[in-house]
């Protein structure tokens, strides 16, 4: 009677050991091990790529925002110039200056893009170009709106309101 419970306990212990789920009795095969090492490396590359692409996407978004604002502002020009005559020449001269400056910036970038030493070097150049152009478009359209404002005093308010509203959103 005394030994019977002991045997039962030992048998239970054996049975418990066999079904113990915590012991890793299966090892990953070689390809899984390789994958585990290679994957993070690929992921890291992908992260660098994604960060770079994110930068490109973000600065593109900033430019689009400025563009939309400038477009809104230019809708106000129509109101002001409906009554204006002489202002158009001054306006066109300003537009010429803007086109010239933007074209110069673009050609400088085209040239510089050929001298880039690496992808990150190129992306830095491109980001700088985009940032400068974004700033330039904002200033150019503020100046164009200013010209419109000075030309036609009576239609000042709608332009001023529109420009203030537009560039508040963008900058």
């Amino acid at each position: 009677m005394a030994s019977a419970p002991k045997k039962t306990a030992a048998a239970h212990a054996d049975a418990d050991a066999k079904v113990e789920p915590d012991l890793p009795n299966e090892f990953p095969d070689a390809s899984e091990v390789v994958e585990a090492i290679v994957e993070p490396a690929l992921e890291m590359q992908e992260t660098v790529r994604n960060v770079t692409e994110k930068g490109v996407v973000e600065s593109r978004a900033a430019f689009v925002k400025a563009k939309v604002s400038a477009k809104d502002a230019s809708n106000a020009f129509e109101l002001s110039f409906a009554a204006a005559k002489d202002g158009v020449l001054a306006f066109n001269a300003k537009a010429f200056a803007a086109v010239r400056a933007n074209t110069e910036a673009n050609l400088d970038f085209v040239k510089a893009s050929l001298t880039a030493k690496s992808v990150s070097d190129f992306v830095a150049l491109q980001s700088e170009f985009a940032r400068k152009q974004t700033d330039a478009v904002v200033v150019q359209f503020q100046e164009l709106a200013e010209l419109a404002k000075n030309t036609v005093v009576e239609t000042l308010q709608p332009i001023k309101d529109q420009v203030t509203k537009s560039f508040k959103i963008a900058v």
Partner: protein, 119 residues
Amino acid sequence: MTASLFEVPNDLRDFAERSVEQARKAFEGFLAVAQRTAGVVGDTPGATGVKSVAAHVLNNTEHNVNAAFDLASKLVRAKDPQEVFALQSEYLKSQLAALQSQAQEFGAVIQKSVTQGSR
């Protein structure tokens, strides 16, 4: 290896630089002529024309900035130097062509802005 990705043969670089300088000079010459013409023609301008001029400035700038963005996006994903070379060549070619047509269109838009009011 990253550096070699951007190695552009000297001949091509020289050619590209010459092309860019040529385009710059041509564009400046064109602008000077268009500006003179606009000054002579215009004293009875219209409103719509001015709006088109503003839109033109904006659209051109947008196009050029976007082209640079597109190139950046493609270069980031370029697999080898050949692809980089092809992308850069394509960009150079399309930008020089774009600048030419932008100059022509801008001249036309300016012309229209100053003659429209007199009709």
